[in-house]
C-alpha cells in the first residue's frame, strides 16, 4: 500500500521536471550538440557569398592549435581572471565576516549590502565605456593626476599591458565583489552560532575564530563561488571587448578566448567558432574538476575512507 503511494508521488516529480527538461533540451542541449557538429565543417561567408558547409574532419581543430595563439589568449584570460578574483574574494571574505558578526552591531547593514551590489546592476558594457572615458589619455583621471603633480605627462593607460589588464581586472572585481559577499555571507550565517559562542568562551580571538571556524566550514560555498567565478572568468568578453575596442591591444595581450571567438564571427565562421567553443568547453570542465578535487571533495574522500 505504502510502496504504491511512493510510486504515485514519484510520477509527479517527473512531471514537474518536464518544463526544465524541455527548456534545457531546446536552449542548451541542442545548441551544444550542434556546436560540436558544426566544428567539423568548413562553413563561412565571404562578403555575401556563403562557403560550405563542407565536411573537413578535424581540420578546424588543427588550424586553431597550429598557430599557438590559442594558448596566448587562454593565458590572457586566466591572468585577468586571477588578477580580479584574488582581491575580490579577499574583500568579500572580510565584508562577509563583518556583516555576519553580530557582536559588531553594524548599523545600516541593509543599505551597505545594497550599495556593494549596485555595480553588478550596471551593464558591463556601460561600465567599460565609463572606464574607457575616465582613463583616456586626455580623460579626467589623467588630468587629476597631472593637476595633483603626481605625473607630468599623461599616462597612456590603454597602451600598456599592465594598465589595460589591471583595468579589466579592477572592473570585474568591482562588479562582482558584492555578489560574492552576499553568497559568502549566506554561508557564514548558516554556521551554527553555538560554535562561535564556544570559541569565545574558550578565549579565541576574532582572527582565530575566522581562520579555525568560519573558513573551514565555509568551504562548500567557497568552492561554489570559485567554480562559478572561474566559468564566468573564462567567458570574459564584454569588459575587455569594449575597453579595447575589440582589438585586445596592446598586441592582443588583453584578448580573451571569447574575444578571439568573436573575431571569427566577422566572417560567420561557424566551423572555427565551433571548434573554439568545444575547446573552451573541455578546458572549463577540466579546470572545474581540478578545483573540485583539490579543495572540495577531501571530506567526501575521507568519509569514504572511513
Amino acid at each position: 500500500m505504502k510502496k504504491s503511494n511512493v510510486v504515485k508521488y514519484n510520477k509527479w516529480g517527473y512531471i514537474f521536471l518536464i518544463p526544465f527538461l524541455t527548456v534545457y533540451g531546446i536552449f542548451q542541449l541542442v545548441p551544444l550538440i550542434s556546436t560540436v557538429y558544426n566544428s567539423f565543417f568548413e562553413n563561412y561567408r565571404s562578403g555575401l557569398t556563403q562557403i560550405g558547409p563542407n565536411f573537413i574532419g578535424v581540420q578546424n581543430y588543427i588550424s586553431i592549435f597550429s598557430t599557438g595563439d590559442l594558448w596566448k589568449y587562454f593565458g590572457n584570460t586566466m591572468i585577468m581572471w586571477v588578477l580580479g578574483f584574488v582581491p575580490q574574494i579577499l574583500i568579500s571574505l572580510l565584508l562577509g565576516a563583518w556583516f555576519s558578526d553580530p557582536s559588531l552591531r553594524l548599523k545600516c547593514q541593509r543599505f551597505f549590502k545594497t550599495v556593494i551590489y549596485m555595480p553588478n546592476l550596471i551593464m558591463a558594457s556601460a561600465f567599460a565605456m565609463l572606464f574607457f572615458t575616465l582613463f583616456a589619455t586626455t580623460g579626467p583621471i589623467n588630468s587629476i593626476l597631472q593637476q595633483l603633480g603626481i605625473i607630468s605627462q599623461p599616462y597612456e593607460f590603454m597602451n600598456h599591458v599592465g594598465s589595460v589588464r589591471g583595468l579589466v581586472a579592477a572592473m570585474n572585481c568591482l562588479m562582482w565583489f558584492g555578489n560574492t559577499t552576499i553568497l559568502l555571507m549566506a554561508g557564514m550565517m548558516g554556521i551554527d552560532p553555538s560554535l562561535f559562542e564556544a570559541a569565545s568562551v574558550d578565549g579565541a580571538t576574532a582572527t582565530q575564530t575566522f581562520f579555525k571556524i568560519t573558513l573551514p566550514l565555509l568551504k562548500p560555498i567557497l568552492i561554489y563561488v570559485m567554480i562559478t567565478s572561474l566559468i564566468g572568468g573564462l567567458q570574459m568578453f564584454d569588459v575587455p571587448q569594449i575597453l579595447t575596442n575589440g582589438t585586445g591591444d596592446p598586441m592582443r595581450t588583453s584578448m580573451t578566448l571569447i574575444m578571439y571567438l568573436n573575431k571569427h564571427l566577422f566572417s560567420k565562421n561557424y566551423g572555427i567558432g565551433g571548434a573554439l567553443s568545444v575547446f573552451l568547453f573541455i578546458i572549463t570542465a577540466i579546470l572545474s574538476i581540478i578545483i573540485f578535487r583539490f579543495s572540495g571533495n577531501r571530506d567526501a574522500v575521507q568519509k569514504k575512507a572511513k
Binding site: 572615458t133 589619455t137 599591458v161 598586441m251 566577422f266
Partner: protein, 489 residues
C-alpha cells in the same frame, strides 16, 4: 426614390475615395469601378419602377462591395505602403528631412512621404554591426513580406563593391534612371558603385574629395601665416609636411593623428590590397608606417584612434592640434560647429589641398533588388543626387561638397560658397579640382577590413609595444580571421 439612389451612389463614391490609396493608378482603377457601379445602378433604377426601391438598394450595396474589391486589388497591384531604408547614422535621414519635398518626420525612426510610411533602420557601423544586419536582411529579402523588404540601403566606398557586385543591388537603369540623368556627377562617384559588368548600381549626393583642414591660430604661430596658399606651400609634399609637423611640435602642437594621414597614403597606392587571393602590402603603405613612426618618435603626431574622445579634443583650442584631414562633410559633421568653445564656432579653421589628393567616405544610395516601391525609390535617388536645386540647397545648408559639377562651379564663383567655420574661405574650387582628379582603379572589396586591421596593428608599433615585424604579423593574423579564404603573410 431617385433621391435615395443618388445618395447611395454618393456614399459609394465617398467610401471609394476613403478606401483608395494615393497612387494615380489606384485612383484611376477606383474611378473606373465606381463609374461601372454607377451605371449599373442607373440602369436598374431606370428599369425598375418606384416600387422596386429595395432591389435598387441591393444593387447599390453590391456595387459598393465591388468598389471595395477593386480598391483592394488596386492597392495590391500598386506600390507598397512602407519604405524601408537601411543606414548607419542620421546623415541621410537629416538630408531627406530637410531637402526632400513632401517628407514629414513622425519620430526618430519614422516619417511619411504622402501616404507611404518611411521606416529608418539605423544600425551603427561599429564592429561591423551595420553590414551584419544588412547582410542578414538582404539574404532574407526574397522571402520577406512586401512591407518588410528593404527598399533603399546606403553603402560606403570602403565596402561598396561587396554589395554592388551582387544581385542584391538593383541597376539604376532598371529603375529607369538614364546616363543622362547622372551626367553631371563626378566620374569617381560612379566608378565606385559600378559592378563588374559595367552596370551603375548606386548614386551619391556627395563628392568627397578631401584635403587638409588646419587650425588658423596654429598656422600663424608655426608658419607665420594662415593664408591657404602659404599653408599649402608648407605641406606640399610629405617631406615638407614632416618638417612643418616637427616645427609645430616645437611650438607645443601635435600635427594630427597617424590615423588622420592614413587615408591620404592608402588612396595613393599602386595596387590593390588583395591580388590573386593574397594580401599585398603596397610600398606607399610602408611609407605611411615609416613616416608616421618618425613623426611619432619626434613627438609631432599622436596615435589616437579616429572618432575617439582624445582625438576629438583637437576641435577645441586646448586640444593643440595643427590639422585634421577631411573632406567637406567633415566641416559640417565633425567639427562641432555651433558648440561653445570650439575652433569651428570661432571660424578658426582653414582649408588647403594637402600633400596628396585623396577622397574620404561619401555615402551611396542603392536600391535593393525586390523593392516594392520602385517609383518612389527612383524619385528619391533622382531628387537627392541629381536635382541641381536640391543639391545646391544641401551644399549651402550643410556644407556638403555635392556631386554636381555645375553646382560646385557656381558655388566656387559666388559668395554662397563661403564657409563660416573656415573663416569665410571658399573651398569649392579646390574641392572640385580634387574630385576630378581622383583615381579609383585600386579599390577592392576587402578594403575596409584591410584598412582597419592595418591601422589597428600598426598602432602597436607606433606606441612602442611591438616591432614593425610583430605588428605586421598581427595584421596578417587578423586578416586571416576576417577573410579565411585569403592567403596571408
Amino acid at each position: 426614390m431617385k433621391k435615395k439612389v443618388v445618395s447611395a451612389m454618393l456614399s459609394a463614391v465617398m467610401a471609394a475615395g476613403m478606401l483608395a490609396g494615393c497612387g494615380e493608378a489606384q485612383v484611376q482603377q477606383v474611378a473606373e469601378a465606381v463609374q461601372e457601379a454607377a451605371q449599373e445602378v442607373e440602369k436598374e433604377a431606370q428599369e425598375t419602377t418606384a416600387a422596386a426601391a429595395d432591389t435598387a438598394q441591393e444593387a447599390v450595396s453590391e456595387a459598393v462591395e465591388e468598389v471595395e474589391d477593386a480598391v483592394e486589388e488596386a492597392s495590391a497591384g500598386g506600390e507598397g505602403q512602407v519604405l524601408n531604408i537601411y543606414c548607419w547614422n542620421e546623415e541621410f535621414k537629416s538630408r531627406v528631412t530637410d531637402h526632400y519635398p513632401g517628407y514629414t518626420e513622425v519620430d526618430g525612426t519614422h516619417g511619411t512621404i504622402g501616404d507611404v510610411q518611411v521606416v529608418w533602420n539605423i544600425t551603427p557601423s561599429d564592429d561591423n554591426a551595420y553590414q551584419n544586419n544588412l547582410d542578414e536582411n538582404l539574404l532574407k529579402q526574397a522571402d520577406a513580406a512586401a512591407d518588410d523588404k528593404i527598399d533603399l540601403f546606403l553603402v560606403e566606398a570602403d565596402y561598396a563593391l561587396k554589395y554592388v557586385d551582387t544581385e542584391y543591388a538593383m541597376a539604376l537603369a532598371d529603375l529607369g534612371i538614364t546616363d543622362a540623368d547622372v551626367a553631371d556627377q563626378y566620374e569617381y562617384t560612379q566608378s565606385i558603385v559600378t559592378d563588374s559588368n559595367g552596370n551603375l548600381k548606386g548614386s551619391s549626393w556627395q563628392a568627397c574629395s578631401a584635403g587638409l583642414i588646419y587650425n588658423r591660430e596654429a598656422a600663424k604661430e608655426v608658419i607665420g601665416s594662415d593664408d591657404p596658399a602659404d599653408v599649402q606651400a608648407a605641406v606640399a609634399d610629405w617631406a615638407k609636411f614632416s618638417e612643418t609637423a616637427k616645427a609645430a611640435a616645437a611650438k607645443g602642437y601635435k600635427m594630427c593623428s597617424v590615423n588622420d594621414t592614413y587615408r591620404v597614403y592608402s588612396n595613393n597606392v599602386s595596387g590593390k590590397w588583395v591580388q590573386d587571393g593574397a594580401v599585398v602590402i603596397d610600398p606607399n603603405m610602408e611609407n605611411w608606417v615609416n613616416d608616421s613612426m618618425d613623426l611619432v618618435q619626434a613627438g609631432a603626431e599622436n596615435t589616437y584612434e579616429l572618432w575617439g574622445d582624445d582625438w576629438a579634443k583637437g576641435k577645441t583650442p586646448e586640444g593643440k592640434i595643427f590639422c585634421y584631414f577631411g573632406p567637406a562633410w567633415f566641416f559640417n559633421f565633425c567639427l562641432d560647429f555651433g558648440q561653445e568653445g570650439t575652433i569651428a564656432t570661432d571660424g578658426g579653421w582653414g582649408f588647403c589641398e594637402g600633400p596628396q589628393s585623396y577622397f574620404w567616405g561619401g555615402t551611396w544610395i542603392c536600391a535593393a533588388a525586390g523593392t516594392d516601391n520602385a517609383s518612389l525609390v527612383k524619385d528619391i535617388i533622382l531628387t537627392m543626387t541629381t536635382d541641381p536645386a536640391v543639391l545646391k540647397e544641401i551644399a549651402i545648408a550643410d556644407q556638403d561638397c555635392v556631386n554636381s559639377k555645375t553646382v560646385l562651379a557656381e558655388l566656387a564663383a559666388s559668395d554662397e560658397g563661403n564657409i563660416e567655420l573656415l573663416g569665410g574661405q571658399n573651398p569649392y574650387a579646390e574641392l572640385a579640382a580634387g574630385a576630378e582628379g581622383i583615381d579609383l582603379s585600386n579599390l577592392s572589396s576587402y578594403d575596409q577590413g584591410c584598412n582597419e586591421e592595418f591601422q589597428a596593428a600598426m598602432k602597436n608599433y607606433f606606441d612602442g609595444n611591438a616591432s614593425a615585424d610583430e605588428a605586421l604579423a598581427q595584421f596578417y593574423t587578423a586578416i586571416g580571421e576576417k577573410y579565411p579564404e585569403l592567403t596571408v603573410g
